[in-house]
Symmetry: C2
Subunit: 343 residues, 2 copies
């Protein structure tokens, strides 16, 4: 798609254009903070079933756009749909997050099932098709997946973790064995994102939520290398679909991540200095981020200045407004309306 | 103390010398992973009482040095001794960490008591005196405190937190009110560290464990500014006592932290790239760090190469070997013996 033909602001910025107004969307813009989401969520008991029901997932995806008119919808789903589709036992416990039957050895790995992978994710693709046909002419559809390292963390730890002991011990003690898991996830992620693109998503984001817990050498091996491989394959097949990387917590490694993975744009987490994003990242790719989501709980007086500062520094280059992490469930819906009015 | 007179390797490196062998100590080198510590700990029911008993705290401090002969002892204590001494209700729940009665308003702040502060900490000073007289001629004694931001996090949240919502909302919504808490902590920290120095500690470390959750502007205001003030006062009073800063998770802001706070040395967390520590930090100050503590659970074969890599890169300048975070309670004691043999 040539720039001149592209009318969607989000895609124009992802192609490198500098716009007079920043396009925006918010990580976890669909979800628990919205009363209409909570009502919808009540209709399917199990969270996995909810994500895989095309009508419910499409509806959850569209809800925030109806209220606030973001420039992009992001498919309502979860990064753990990939382990689910690989046959790992998964459930979501209210208030506690995901619980998985841990896979932490070659033997556990051998029990994963690859054959039904895309079949099990059909609900996600169908939701994407429905949303794609529902969107306004200026709204883009973003697909996503967890990056292999982050998905591996959940698969090995069996859920959230404090010290990431189990996954790191495996990676440190048996790098070849752990690499087999990461490579499986790499290929699964490629297949999953290709399916989403075929179903109509126009950009994808790779969430590497646990990129920030690794030493430099491990970051290169488990974050940069698998991401670079995913990007290379997707770019070869779909050169016009931009890929946004989000290596949360990567700090001083953000620049190397951008240079070595080949992502088209970079999502900045809350702690990443805006000045660094401007000087070290935006000269390479468009940047996205990074208002602290807690700001939306502190009131407009608190966040007005912070939003203005982001725009003043990052608005000089290709820039997409977003938070530095997902919308918190406690966010008052009117705070996002106030935010929308500022943008 | 002039360099030529200084025989303790840790203090020589902190003064800028490059030594042929790196001096070493480990964050949380005294503690639960040691059977003799667990035995000692059983003698005082309450953790606060344990920290404030000079005989027990001194003994806990010395235990790892007897086994492993580190180049420094770090006083066995806890960063929450400061809120305790300010009269905040505090207890430690086994397996859950600290629980405090939250202080999250000017009203809560007004209930804190400043008068008995140093009196309540006398046990820490007495422990320091005892350890100072017990150490070998080449072993240094390190004192420490939590930095104001990190201590404020615990005081406001009332313990560990996932999203740091309560403390950030206060800081964002009412920066002047929150500044009163941070300034109180700044002055309390200065008094606490002066007391430790008078009692015999020869270097101090400021632990800013939650430095990595702040946006750039908030980092400057709540991490850099209070730390710079503490450093300035301590340097004026005790120019020969080096101060090690440890702004865990500060990522790309590490360099600015070093430049603007005036710390004498910098502790690097696990995720900080070794190459960045070498290129951006070690040209300014001696560096300390940053082996992943999980490495010690993965076996010597795993950590040998990582230790060698640290030494190869950072050993060219003034360098103190340490972990990038505290020793984990599950660490096998023999792993630290293997580590000691490598150093």
């Amino acid at each position: 798609m040539r720039k001149s033909q592209q009318q969607k602001p989000l895609l124009r910025v992802l192609a490198g254009e500098v716009l007079p107004v920043a396009p925006w969307w918010l990580m976890r813009q669909a979800g628990r903070y919205l009363p209409e989401y909570r009502q919808l969520r009540g209709r399917a008991g199990d969270f996995v079933a909810f994500c895989l029901d095309p009508a419910l997932a499409a509806e959850a995806t569209m809800q925030p756009l109806r209220r606030y008119g973001m420039d992009a919808a992001i498919l309502f789903s979860d990064i753990l749909m990939v382990p689910y589709a690989l046959g790992q036992k998964l459930c979501f416990v209210e208030g506690e997050g995901p619980v998985l039957e841990p896979v932490d050895s070659a033997e556990g790995l051998s029990r994963l099932e690859r054959d039904a992978f895309l079949f099990r994710l059909e609900g996600v693709f169908e939701a994407a098709r429905r949303v794609a046909s529902d969107l306004g002419p200026k709204q883009a559809l973003i697909g996503f997946a967890g990056a292999p390292w982050t998905v591996a963390v959940y698969m090995v730890e069996g859920g959230a973790s404090h010290d990431f002991r189990r996954v790191k011990i495996w990676a440190y003690r048996d790098p070849a064995g752990f690499a087999a898991l990461v490579e499986l996830l790499q290929e699964a992620t490629i297949a999953f994102l290709c399916g989403q693109i075929e179903a109509g998503v126009e950009a994808v984001q790779l969430f590497d939520s646990w990129a920030g817990i690794l030493s430099e050498a491990a970051f290169v091996r488990w974050v940069i290398e698998p991401t670079a491989r995913i990007v290379a394959v997707l770019k070869a097949r779909y050169p016009h679909v931009p890929i946004i990387g989000f290596p949360r917590g990567a700090g001083a490694l953000y620049e190397r991540y951008v240079s070595l993975t080949g992502v088209d744009a970079i999502g900045c987490d809350t702690a990443l200095p805006v000045s660094y994003a401007r000087e070290s990242l935006q000269r390479l790719v468009p940047v996205q981020g990074n208002l602290d989501p807690v700001m939306l709980l502190a009131g407009e007086e608190a966040f007005r200045e912070a939003v203005w500062r982001l725009w003043r520094i990052l608005g000089k280059g290709p820039y997409i407004f977003n938070l530095g992490h997902g919308v918190l469930p406690e966010t008052p819906p009117h705070a996002i309306a106030s935010l929308a009015a500022l943008l």
